[in-house]
Symmetry: C3
Subunit: 136 residues, 3 copies
């Protein structure tokens, strides 16, 4: 049985929180993980992975708006020629990997939790490595 798979996620716009919860559920099934952790790693430096509310999309809009204000796109002191240093900082603030418990084959998320790829310099195709770690 495989222990790691690669996932491709297309992001729709410059800044976006893309729900990947159902795809991670499918990955857990495909990997045959019963009890343990599923680990997600995004192979990029201008997007992140985060867990937040899966119910009211306004939460995600507020996260995006507040993050854009906290980390302005154009900063007079930026030196990086590509002009996307804001996206690099947001990447480090969110983190590029996370892991979620799996119990009896099921992702152990809270009622309101969803897993999101947080795009900060899209639209792009992003790649993730999903790793299954069993408890024994």
């Amino acid at each position: 049985m495989k222990n790691q798979i690669r996932l491709s996620v297309a992001t729709p716009s410059k800044d976006a929180f893309v729900s990947i919860t159902s795809r991670i559920r499918d990955a857990v099934t495909e990997l045959g993980l019963k009890d343990g952790l599923v680990h997600l790693h995004a192979l990029h430096t201008t997007c992140g992975l985060t867990i937040n509310e899966n119910a009211d999309p306004d939460v995600l809009t507020d996260l995006r708006t507040r993050l854009e204000e906290m980390v302005v796109w154009n900063h007079p002191q930026d030196r990086h020629g590509e002009g996307n240093s804001a996206a690099h900082l947001k990447c480090s603030l969110m983190g590029t990997s996370l892991s979620v418990p799996v119990q009896n084959g099921v992702l152990a998320l809270g009622t309101w939790q969803g897993i999101f790829l947080a795009e900060f310099d899209g639209p792009r195709n992003r790649s993730l490595i999903i790793t299954a770690i069993g408890c024994d």
Copy 2:
């Protein structure tokens, strides 16, 4: 032997860093983990988990004060009807899970490190899933 247990943490106020270090130590013992990682996952979207100083409580006060200034509670552009978008952003900034090495049954924390549940929209009862991952 069990590999995962659930922990309940009561938080005392709206914003608070609640030390859970000794409870995680107990969980490691209960889970019988010798060498590996203990993974903590909070099942919520308005609190986080973080490691920071366990000695001078003023550090935690400063973290709270600075975070409240950085992520103001009332933002004129917020759309989310519950009015707690600030707590959702702080949740993603801290992260909802973390893992700590365990060596010979002992949590491998630095001298000044403690593990905290960072409450951003309390007081509430919060639930955590603790997972033991052995090295072999």
Copy 3:
């Protein structure tokens, strides 16, 4: 075979992103990890670990400059006597641990990804615990 090793990292200045990618590669080899996760934990409360761009050093300069503006060193409300509460907050914003997939003995990083110890109150000698978690 050992499953955990300790790494010592000297940081050169007060704020610095120190690349530790090649040392983590060496640790993976030393630990004999084939498929799984390598987990890094820094034993401190005023530095962090993060993944970001390994190519243009201007990205790291921009991260440092922007973080210093976002989390000012002297805050009138700070109470902590050591005066380094800013470093404590940056520590929690970056996180003190991270894990990276390993495939066939090779760190599965994206083309532009490097692993950095983010120093916020240096120069110091920092200690990390590196843990190898195999997939089976």
